[in-house]
């Protein structure tokens, strides 16, 4: 348990410091315009960089796979999110669709391949 607590303190520090230092130092400074513009584009860049690989890459080793149910479920989920702007609704709809695809998956994937 002592080893485990040491691990958690280490993990906690390397998680907290990157979250805290920019807030502490940058909030007191006036930043150049181009940097603010750059930071304004960071959210859409990060979210897309987090998301797209999960949708189109298979694991072990990583490879492109456009037949992943993750990708096909994403299309109606994107549409739902776009029209409703509802985060909770999108999570529920995405989960439901993914669960349904999991039920029929063996049948149609075998047929497609």
């Amino acid at each position: 348990m002592a080893d485990y607590l040491t691990l958690l303190v280490g993990m906690g520090l390397v998680t907290y410091l990157p979250r805290w230092m920019p807030l502490h130092y940058l909030s007191r400074r006036s930043l150049p315009d181009w940097f603010i513009q750059w930071l304004g584009l960071i959210p859409s860049a990060i979210l897309s960089a987090l998301l797209l690989p999960v949708l189109v890459l298979g694991e072990n080793p990583r490879h492109i796979d456009f037949l992943r149910p993750e990708l096909w479920v994403a299309l109606p989920t994107f549409a739902f999110a776009w029209w409703t702007r509802s985060l909770g609704g999108t999570v529920v709809v995405g989960m439901l669709l993914f669960w349904l695809v999991g039920k029929i998956d063996p049948l149609w994937i075998a047929w497609l391949r």
Partner: protein
Amino acid sequence: MTSYSVAASSSPLKDGLSAGWPICLGYLPIGIAFGVLAQKAGLTPVQIGLMSIMVFAGSSQFIAVSMIAAGASATAIITTTFVVNLRHVLMSSSLAIYLKSARRGLLALYAYGVTDESFAVNLPRFNANDWSLGRALVVNHAANLTWFLSTVAGGIGGRFIPEGALGIDYALIAMFICLLIYQIRKWIHLLTAVIAGITAVGLALKFQGNTYIVIASVIAATAGVIIQNQAMRRKRDNG
């Protein structure tokens, strides 16, 4: 009472919870899934709860547990956690713009709850000028409490839930889909997202690990700034 405004008429608690409940809903299945995995890796519910409070970073907790199960060293786990969470530097930097007048103590507390999800919920509201640090803190801590409770619950009772039940594995993906949609306000955001996504896929194919997230984001945002400035210059020259 000239300072009376719509924002002041509703409480930070109510506003924060109504903005943050989708995060909580999204965390519930992911937290339970994490608890199940952690319990399978040999962690007790107390250990799981401690990790959720002391670290509070979903994806790196998942990675840490799989590394613990594989017998990795503490140094390796902490280094990986650091790399995986470096992206929060970019998020906190974006948030800092809106928190210039905030007290340092409150900022230190707020920093604890900066996650992908709370960032994507709070940032557009700060950007639209109808948000306060108090409301953002409610969002962060409601999310943290839900994360803590659901991971512990998963550790205690999760083994009774069958694998893949109710599309649990898709909760986080669906959440990011909607958060990304929130970010697409102008053509430049869409273009940046496309560049980031394609670059991330390309880098992920070439290199192991998760550093592709930070590298692809930096490349895409830089390209976005260059393209946006060129477009503005062209408009100015033609107009």
